[in-house]
């Protein structure tokens, strides 16, 4: 199934335009984590093959535009259209792998060119499957489940490290009153603590979408109007979005319901503004503010007619991934968007 993910699209475009933005001198509000080094594991890896597990759907047919963070991790390694940048702003070179789809949610990333290795067997798994794979031995686990990360960290020589806050989950609605939204910090804290089963915190600004003006985006010619739906929609591949939507529904009362839509259906519903509200992630960082705004408005064109974006987009929580890796197996590095990537061995 072809899936469209707003957040990932924005991320892809943001990465792809990173150099353009940097060289062109366009406005950037990115605050890259600057440290002594972006290397996650300093040991020189010597393995020829490695196994990686991610608890996120991966569909190679979506390449090269990722729709999930799992696809973002895989496509980042395999497509030259991505400029890989580490957390210090240093480019990491072209993508060193090509993808082979083995089916059953298995991908094989094979080195290309003068890249020596290692070959990476990448599995997309549920939490239960991931536990089995961890028991069998994996070199890297990327997950948004703290419980799974804790379990993976019980492996010998395993290192668990939380990555940076990379996504902000928002509810987008032009009828906040109908939803009875509470924008207080207490409310957001409750969401982060009790509602989602992810490594979460209350959403914290500043948010790059706070100002959608100044980028010369034309307003929507014919703004669609909400059709009076009482549903809070979310992409059914996103457990965090589902939990948030259900909490909103629980608090809204009345006839409000939550509905999980297929990613492409969700994108259509968002664009057509057919539901009461939409719960979805937005990237915490943008390398090019105007490109990010452009993508957001492309996904939600009716936003351009809203007088106050704060009354439409309500940040709820921030989430981040956990990386659990075995020391000395893979060369890993933090990337600019607070995730990790694999660095190949070079001859």
């Amino acid at each position: 199934m072809r899936r469209v993910g707003l957040v990932s699209s924005i991320v892809v475009v943001a990465i792809a335009t990173f150099l353009t933005g940097a060289c062109g001198g366009s406005r950037s509000n990115v605050a890259l984590p600057v440290g002594a080094t972006c290397a996650l594991d300093t040991a020189r890896a010597t393995v020829d093959s490695a196994s990686v597990v991610v608890t996120s759907p991966i569909d190679p047919r979506n390449a090269p535009r990722p729709t999930t963070w799992g696809e973002r991790f895989a496509f980042d390694l395999a497509y030259e259209t991505f400029f890989r940048v580490d957390c210090g702003g240093k480019t990491l070179g072209a993508a060193p792998y090509r993808i082979r789809d083995l089916g059953f949610f298995k991908l094989l990333l094979e080195p290309v060119g003068d890249v020596v290795g290692p070959r990476i067997a990448l599995r997309s798994a549920t939490e239960a499957q991931a536990r089995d794979l961890i028991d069998a031995g994996v070199d890297l686990v990327l997950t948004d489940s703290p419980a799974l990360a804790a379990y993976a960290a019980t492996q010998p020589d395993a290192m668990s490290i939380p990555l940076g806050w990379d996504r902000t989950w928002v509810v987008v609605t032009s009828r906040q009153a109908a939803l009875g939204l509470d924008s207080s910090a207490v409310f957001r804290s409750g969401l982060a603590r009790d509602v989602v089963r992810a490594n979460a915190r209350p959403a914290q600004g500043p948010y790059w979408w706070s100002d959608l003006t100044g980028c010369g985006m034309p307003p929507e010619a014919s703004a669609s109007t909400s059709r009076g739906s009482a549903r809070v929609a979310y992409s059914r591949d996103e457990p965090v979005a589902r939990a948030l939507a259900e909490r909103l529904v629980a608090l809204a009362g009345g006839g409000t319901t939550a509905v999980g839509l297929a990613p492409d259906v969700f994108a259509s519903a968002l664009k057509g503004r057919t539901e009461l509200a939409y719960v979805m992630p937005l990237p915490r960082r943008s390398l090019d503010h105007c490109r990010a705004v452009g993508d957001l408005l492309a996904a939600t064109p009716w936003l351009s007619r809203m007088p106050d974006v704060h009354g439409v987009i309500t940040p709820l929580i921030d989430t981040r991934l956990d990386a659990v890796y075995k020391r000395g197996r893979l060369n890993l590095a933090f990337t600019w968007d607070s995730t990790v990537t694999v660095l190949p061995r070079r001859p």
């Binding site: 009790d194 939990a243 939507a245 259900e246 909490r247 629980a250 319901t257």
Partner: protein, 569 residues
């Protein structure tokens, strides 16, 4: 109505009526027996369904009881309800885990204020106050139907409440199973059975429920549902305040078994009827053709039988009644032909005799004037020889006329069937000549009383001459020796016809003689042929004329002939 149609109707009635009676009897017997069995089965189904509902209720109660037994031993749970922050997520997820392990479709833990502490079917509904649900279910004291809130919309559940005590705190545990068409399917133990749950708010059924059928038993269009059982189940409404209202589990049969059976019987009956009627009609058609065909042949043959025609065999070769009838007809026709042949032979002989007598009669009539003239001439030669030439000259025309008459007569007989040549005939001239040529004795006078300016009659002069000749001769011969008078009169009748009256003062005829006067060969004279008056009548008829006779014994006879005029009057 034709014989064949009657035969067809008789056959049809003979087959359809007994078959209809048979079908009616079978249906009646089936109905009687099935109703009894049906009632027993219905009672059994109702009892089983009620037991199923009670069984589900007991299952839910058992699952809740097992949870309430285990929870006091769950330390993390205890810590969580005590407010331990690090175990809060454990509490929030507890109901979902418990729900999955027990097989329940809904489970929520609430404190005494009704606050939801953990919800399995709506994980993130925690902290919402819902005191009416456990309170209402507790009031029901058993399982009740209730609409349970869920993220994707409310659903109907069969639920009950249990409680547990942890220290000084009491908790309510509400659990149940989702009631939908899948759940109801387990009550539909037979094909064609529809189970519907009807609550004040909605109708759930194993059949498709259209909006207009909410609140009542779904029924298929055109079908009368047979309600097998209705099981009351309390329904807890928590819309405003918790209160119990009745709901019912209705088990219906969309197509009642009895009606189904009767429909099958009817269908087979119709099939059998069609086959039997078709067979009967075919058989009747064949039989009627077998029966009426020979009859039609006989009729046709009978209509073509001619006594003069060739002999035809009507129906040879059959040995049944129709063959016998045909043979009798053949025999009858043969006898008729033989009789007709004999009759024709007799007629031919009679006709030859008649013809001879007719010729004899006509020739005698033609010779009489000649003989009279010759007698007259002989008498003149003897008595007045010097007048012979004058008398001969005087009577020459009579001779010539008589010879001409005989000549014409001979030619007519030569043609056997004399033809009538119609034209204007001067009746007065014929009457005058006849009166003059008729030799009578001295006491008998032949007179004429002719009308002036009489138009010609439309006829043949020879025929009219024969008519008058015969009448006058009969009149003369009816007068005895004492003498008398014969009058030939002509006139026009009131209707314009030419009337010829020949009257005599002779001996007349009796009534019996008058009745047979025109019969062939009837005569009262010793040397008569009996053809004179019959010839007159036939010739008059040939000329389209009429004839009547008046006679009285001793006073004479009057013949009146009326002939059509040549020109319309």
């Amino acid at each position: 109505m034709r014989f064949r149609s009657r035969l067809l109707i008789a056959f049809a009635l003979a087959t359809i009526v007994p078959l209809a009676l048979l079908a009616f009897g079978v249906r009646r017997q089936l109905t009687t027996r099935l109703v009894t069995q049906h009632q027993k089965r219905v009672q059994g189904l109702a009892r089983v369904a009620a037991e199923d509902v009670e069984h589900e209720s007991q299952l839910i109660a058992g699952r809740l009881a097992s949870l309430t037994r285990e929870l006091p031993n769950d330390d993390r749970f205890r810590l969580a309800v005590r407010g331990e922050a690090r175990e809060r997520s454990y509490l929030l997820d507890w109901a979902e885990r418990a729900m999955q392990s027990t097989g329940l479709d809904m489970l929520q833990l609430q404190d005494t204020q009704g606050r939801i502490l953990s919800s399995g079917h709506f994980r993130n509904e925690f902290d919402r106050l819902d005191p009416d649900l456990p309170r209402g279910l507790a009031a029901a004291k058993r399982t009740a139907l209730v609409r349970i809130r869920a993220p994707d919309g409310p659903f109907l559940a069969l639920a009950r409440v249990d409680s547990l005590q942890l220290g000084d705190r009491r908790f309510d545990l509400v659990g149940g199973v989702r009631v939908d068409s899948v759940f109801l399917e387990r009550f539909a133990r037979e094909d064609g059975v529809v189970v519907s749950l009807i609550t004040p708010a909605e109708t759930v059924s194993t059949a498709v429920v259209v909006p207009s059928q909410r609140g009542r038993v779904p029924a298929q269009r055109g079908m009368r549902d047979d309600v097998l059982a209705q099981i009351p189940i309390p329904y807890l409404s928590v819309t405003d305040s918790a209160h119990l209202t009745p709901a019912r589990l209705v088990i219906t049969r969309t197509i009642p078994e009895l009606a189904l059976l009767q429909r099958d019987v009817d269908r087979w009956f119709i099939v059998a009827m069609v086959l039997v009627v078709a067979t009967a009609l075919a058989l009747a058609t064949w039989l009627s053709a077998r029966l009426s065909g020979p009859l039609a042949t006989l009729t046709q043959a009978a209509s073509t039988i001619e006594l003069e025609g060739p002999e035809l065999a009507v129906a040879a070769g059959r040995d049944d009644e129709i063959g016998t009838l045909a043979r009798r007809m053949d025999s009858m026709a043969t006898r008729l032909r033989a009789s007709a042949a004999r009759l024709r032979q007799a007629e031919r002989r009679a006709t030859v005799g008649d013809m001879a007598r007719q010729v004899n009669h006509d020739i005698k009539n033609g010779l009489i004037p000649i003989r009279n003239v010759l007698r007259h001439l002989v008498q003149v030669q003897e008595e007045q020889p010097h007048e012979l030439a004058n008398v001969f000259a005087e009577r020459r025309s009579t001779l010539e006329s008589s010879v001409g008459y005989l000549d014409t007569l001979a030619r007519n007989y030569a043609r056997l069937t004399p033809s009538i040549e119609r034209g204007a005939v001067d009746v007065n001239a014929i009457a005058t000549e006849l009166a003059a040529s008729t030799a009578v004795s001295g006491a008998t006078k032949v007179r004429t009383r002719l009308a002036d300016a009489l138009p010609g009659a439309f006829g043949d002069p020879v025929v009219i001459r024969r008519i008058l000749d015969n009448l006058v001769r009969n009149a003369v011969e009816s007068i005895d020796a004492r003498g008398g008078e014969v009058t030939i009169a002509t006139s026009r009748s009131l209707n314009g016809a030419l009337r010829i009256v020949v009257a005599d003062t002779g001996r007349g005829m009796t009534e019996d003689e008058l009745m047979h006067a025109f019969d062939d060969f009837y005569t009262t004279k010793p040397d008569g042929t009996g053809l004179g008056l019959s010839v007159v009548r036939r010739l008059t008829t040939d000329l389209n004329g009429t004839m009547r006779v008046e006679s009285e014994p001793g006073r004479g006879t009057t013949f009146t002939i009326e002939l059509p005029p040549c020109t319309p009057s």
